[in-house]
Symmetry: C2
Subunit: 360 residues, 2 copies
């Protein structure tokens, strides 16, 4: 099994800590290692660094290579530009095969992994990944790793399970993908016993996935074919072709169409997963200190608890506050209630509107 880590995201949800040149996956949010580094660490020894590819962008490539000296530099792939996950995965699979024929036969199993998630239990994660790889080898199914819901989350997509697979202990066929639900629907999912959170982790035979991509998204396939043509040796021409690819996610382009073909199954993932999708989500993962606050860096509290206080540079001092996220960097500070931490996106939008490139 080889790994393809998608590390091109420009996530804005951890502003002001995350920036264009320092997105979430490059940050150390839960320890000494960045989320990207932890993603690589976590695969060991199931997938050694020599079998890991990383798909990122030109802007981030130097940072990614610096953080991952154990991954061969040529396996850090730079998309000409970000075009969502379907083009990124198709193009990366092609690069991983040395630019070989998109439709040709290959026997490699690939795990596609986000670069910025957290797993409390790395061993359980590897076990699930190995199990998915085994089922994929036996059945040629595309496999997803689904997380048992712990609350009625409306911000995630769900996997609706169908029949157990006869010849694969633990894996279940996927009945369908479910979009982000409303609160009432999320509640029924939570209690149904047949819904899992979609963690965006897939394991598949490379040839199988590429064949589905060609079948469902011929425009992407034509573009990827063109990228293998001699004219695409010219970088500006390759960039032009890449820019013409439809911007579409792998879920929408391929995965959501597979249940009706009975070509996708799920393995349960019980490994303390979090997508760390917001400061609040991070707060749920971090231990609190003696004073009841989660702190990073130089922080001083008076009569305050339940806060996430993150001093990247300088000092944070609070008095008489609860339930806040306060983040201080060298040039900015954010103050937001934990439960409003999704609103960081609005702040970043406003910075974009004001053309504040110095703070993005």
């Amino acid at each position: 099994m080889r790994a393809l880590i998608l590390a091109g995201g420009s996530g804005t949800r951890f502003w002001p800590l995350s920036r264009r040149d320092r997105p979430k996956q490059l940050l150390a949010l839960d320890g000494e290692r960045s989320l990207l580094q932890s993603t690589v660490d976590r695969l060991h020894p199931l997938i050694p660094a020599s079998d890991i590819w990383v798909c990122t962008t030109e802007r981030l490539a130097d940072g990614v290579r610096a953080q991952l000296p154990e991954v061969p530099a040529e396996q850090v792939l730079c998309e000409p530009e970000g075009r969502n996950t379907a083009p990124a995965i198709g193009w990366s699979l092609q690069q991983m095969a040395g630019g070989g024929d998109l439709g040709g036969e290959r026997d490699d199993i690939v795990a596609v992994l986000p670069a910025d998630h957290r797993f409390a239990n790395a061993g359980a994660f590897r076990d699930a990944l190995a199990a998915a790889a085994e089922v994929s080898r036996q059945t040629d199914h595309v496999m997803t790793l689904g997380v048992q819901p712990r609350w009625a989350e409306t911000g995630y997509g769900y996997l609706e399970l169908g029949e157990p697979m006869s010849d694969a202990g633990g894996a279940l066929e996927l009945a369908q993908f479910r979009e982000k639900p409303d609160a009432a629907t999320a509640e029924t999912y939570l209690n149904s016993g047949r819904h899992l959170w979609n963690a965006g982790i897939f394991v598949f035979g490379a040839s199988t996935l590429l064949a589905f991509l060609r079948r469902f998204e011929p425009e992407i396939a034509r573009g990827l074919d063109a990228l293998r043509s001699p004219e695409a040796a010219e970088p500006s021409r390759a960039a032009e072709i890449y820019a013409g690819l439809p911007s579409i996610s792998i879920d929408y382009a391929v995965m959501e169409r597979l249940p009706e073909h009975r070509a996708i199954s799920a393995v349960r993932l019980d490994a303390g997963w979090s997508d760390l999708g917001s400061w609040q989500a991070l707060s749920e993962e971090l231990p609190a200190g003696d004073d009841g606050n989660q702190v990073h860096g130089d922080v001083l509290t008076v009569d305050s608890d339940g806060n996430l206080l993150w001093a990247d540079e300088g000092t944070i001092a609070v008095a008489g506050v609860s339930g806040l996220v306060v983040v201080r960097t060298g040039d900015a500070v954010l103050v937001v209630p934990k439960e409003r931490s999704q609103d960081v996106k609005k702040i970043v939008e406003e910075l974009k509107n004001r053309r504040r490139d110095d703070r993005l």
Copy 2:
């Protein structure tokens, strides 16, 4: 009339903006000019800069002189060390007389003024000061300027008024000083019609005040005499003598003893006074912007109102918060609810406990 501005305070209530080397009086909190500069500006044309003395400390002297180029440098007096207002005023009056005899006859009227208060109406302030000087000249009373209470404040001392003075329109004899009251007492003061806030502003004949100081605090008088002796020409000896003076306020040492001698009166001050005693007090003086927040510097708000957001350096961004004070400097940030802004003192105490001189 000459002015003596007391500018030695090391106020910590505006941390992290105020620091040891940049205390409140040197800060521009309500406009372009610092509170100290505004104090000098406000006296013009009643008291020209050539008749203004400033009492401060060695640590602050350069900053004070830089801010007040119009005040003769030798009239910026440096206390050997801070010993509270009774020694500071006695010593300054002595310096203002060229070191002349403490008990000798002088005909100068002196107004003692805090350096860090705010007056919305400078003209009304000067009128009250001029009226107090006139009554002092006629009666040789020590005069105070008392502020009509606008709410039942428990954090101020009060002046309790007695009989109107027969020969001075508007001035009233002072029956007694009242310590900071409890809430119920403050309520009765608010409605009594005979209580004013003590704003710490006094106008008196220099000889009169010095005579009272000698009478009530002979130990201070002896120290001040010693400071005029030849041995005190040696700075280290002068510092030693000064350090031995009792640390006592002018209110406690002199003013509170004057009512029983019928030697003190009050003039009403209705000039939009604020002592700017906290971030909350400042917030009550500043206008709010279109988004309902009071902002300084580079600030971005989303769904937030009623906040005081002060960016001295860098950017402040908030979302979904109300009633907070957020202050960002180059090395620190403070977050505190407005009504808890007195707790800044606790933060500064904690910084002292931790010997964080870099943040004090």
